[in-house]
């Protein structure tokens, strides 16, 4: 599969701060690619470099074969961008913004009207098309943002935290619409919401402190960092027992990454044999009644926390891309 995006040693410095450090990354064409990283990891910087809004300090990159430094109008004809908090001309009507955007892409006449109607329908904005953007809600703005980004049928669609400011319903809606683009365009989406990536992305890269930590398909990542994880769901109202069990798990030599959410504890196992022998006795020792005890697949969150979220976690450099 050819690469839609190719970064070779891409570096961006702001004075003494290195926002992006020698990034080498390939994004296959047609992929829904999730760029993960904590705040300040360099995700937005990378998006700004790839879309021509900022200039690299060193290295280079191509997007659909165009050099980002010299691609200019030809490159921007083939891409689209949706900002984290899209801000458009508040005096325009929704339809007007799409017509304006279409004209910037060289669309005119019947073809322009057809594309505008299509994108309004795709994003569920047909009824709101004649309202001024100043009166749109956050969710409607985000959908309008997606509509303007789709009007040119881009080869690569850049999305910066597309769902982070939306309520659950709005988030579900926008993610569904992004997932529908699979195969039609390459989607390059930066986010720190791991559940979103897990839901719609097939490829993932993790950035931390401007450096690439890992890049792989979601399946490869889960395979590569598969660490047996146990989930223990306790019967309700056993707070003291849950505290005791959590303390016992944290002290166990085979356990790592103990987390707790309500009545459910999750624990990673360095030694699966030791864990399978020890878990039931530890529950008994803590005096808790167990509703469910099961071994699960590691989630993207487990992998992310292991790679960037745990200061003590040591990542084998050979494991890292």
């Amino acid at each position: 599969m050819p690469n839609a995006i190719h970064c070779a040693g891409l570096t961006k410095r702001y004075g003494a701060v290195t926002a992006l450090d020698d990034l080498r990354l390939d994004v296959p064409a047609g992929a829904v690619f999730g760029l993960l990283g904590p705040n300040g990891a360099g995700k937005t910087t990378l998006l700004r470099l790839l879309t021509g809004l900022a200039h690299p300090t060193a290295g280079d990159a191509t997007v659909v074969g165009y050099d980002i430094a010299t691609g200019g109008v030809g490159l921007r004809q083939r891409i689209s961008v949706l900002e984290q908090q899209p801000n458009y001309y508040g005096w325009m009507r929704g339809r007007e913004l799409l017509e304006f955007t279409g004209r910037l892409f060289g669309l005119r006449g019947a073809e322009l009207r057809k594309r505008v109607d299509e994108t309004l329908a795709t994003t569920g904005l047909t009824e709101a098309a004649q309202r001024t953007i100043g009166g749109y809600s956050g969710g409607m703005r985000q959908r309008l943002g997606l509509a303007q980004a789709l009007i040119n049928r881009p080869q690569v669609l850049f999305l910066d935290e597309p769902a982070s400011s939306l309520d659950p319903a709005g988030r579900h809606d926008i993610l569904r619409r992004i997932a529908e683009l699979r195969g039609q365009a390459t989607v390059f989406m930066s986010t720190h919401i791991l559940a979103d990536v897990e839901r719609i992305c097939d490829h993932v890269a993790i950035l931390n402190h401007g450096k690439l930590v890992v890049a792989a398909t979601v399946a490869e990542l889960q395979e590569r960092y598969a660490r047996p994880t146990y989930e223990i769901e306790l019967e309700p109202r056993q707070d003291e027992g849950a505290d005791a069990l959590e303390a016992l798990l944290r002290a166990a030599p085979w356990a790592e990454g103990v987390t707790r959410a309500g009545d459910t504890l999750r624990v990673g196992a360095r030694d699966i044999r030791a864990a399978s022998y020890a878990l039931a006795p530890l529950c008994a020792q803590a005096g808790v009644a167990v509703a469910r005890l099961e071994r699960g697949r590691p989630s993207l969150e487990d992998i992310f926390l292991r790679l960037v979220g745990e200061p003590t976690a040591q990542v084998d450099p050979e494991e890292v891309a």
């Binding site: 809004l53 109008v73 961008v81 900002e83 899209p86 801000n87 910037l104």
Partner: protein, 264 residues
């Protein structure tokens, strides 16, 4: 067909003109200039009469106050030129800075448009707004001047208006540059005002006055009164050069600038 250098210019200019109208910028500018233009001959004609009336009631005798065409022309230059600079600064201050501040510049410039086209569309939009305002002021001022002071050469009146417009464009261009340098409309306006102040102070020095846009005001007045203006060519050349140089610097600055989304 637009070249790559000016890619998107037509669509961007259309947006600028619609924005000027829909946000009220153009109508407000027209109204203000209309008032400034109308006031000029009216003030010239009625001020002596008002002074005489005021002086008469206090027992002071006022002599030699007969309104003339020169007064009307002087009032036009003072009103339209002297106040117009403020409108020029207000129009230009947010043209680029506001779009950078709100993130709409980043939105537009990730589309297949050149930065030169982005700036050119904004500049033409501003020139059209200021030009229509000046047209409005000049038309009403001319009509009242003819009514109160008799036949006045229309061509000379138009040349006077063009010279005043050129001076205002210089202040607009300086603020346009300031707007490209910053993300804040207030800072852009302050820089524009500082530039105007510096040029105004410079023009107090008689030898330097022809080398500033303010030098055009005296020349404009002389042209309208069928007199021979001193330093007309010099003032036009210097002001035009200042405008062109400022716009070139604006393009160079803006072309290299890194843009971000909306300020959060």
């Amino acid at each position: 067909m637009e070249t790559q250098v000016l890619a998107g210019f037509g669509a961007l200019l259309g947006k600028e003109l619609r924005e000027a109208w829909r946000t009220g910028r153009l109508p407000v500018t027209l109204v203000i200039f209309f008032i400034l233009g109308a006031l000029s001959p009216l003030a010239a004609y009625y001020t002596p009469e008002l002074l005489k009336n005021a002086a008469g009631s206090s027992g002071i005798q006022v002599i030699g106050l007969t309104p003339t065409l020169k007064d009307a022309i002087g009032q036009y230059v003072k009103n339209v030129g002297g106040n117009g600079f403020l409108i020029a600064i207000l129009l230009a201050m947010g043209s680029i800075a506001r779009e950078k501040e709100r993130g709409t510049a980043a939105f537009t410039l990730t589309k297949p448009v050149s930065r030169l086209a982005f700036l050119a569309a904004k500049l033409v939009g501003l020139l059209v707004t200021l030009g229509l305002g000046m047209l409005c002021a000049t038309a009403v001022a001319y009509a009242y001047t003819v009514y109160f002071f008799g036949v006045t050469p229309a061509g000379r009146f138009a040349v006077m208006a063009l010279l005043v417009w050129l001076a205002l464009v210089a202040f607009m261009a300086l603020t346009f540059l300031a707007s490209a340098l910053t993300r804040s409309t207030v800072v852009a306006a302050s820089l524009g005002f500082a530039a105007w102040l510096a040029l105004a102070l410079l023009s107090i020095w008689p030898q330097m006055a022809p080398n500033t846009p303010n030098g055009l005001f005296d020349a404009a007045q002389a042209v309208a009164l069928s007199q021979t203006p001193t330093h007309l060519g010099q003032s036009v050349i210097v002001t035009s050069a200042l405008i062109v140089a400022t716009l070139i610097v604006t393009q160079v600055v803006f072309a290299r600038q890194e843009l971000t989304g909306s300020a959060t």
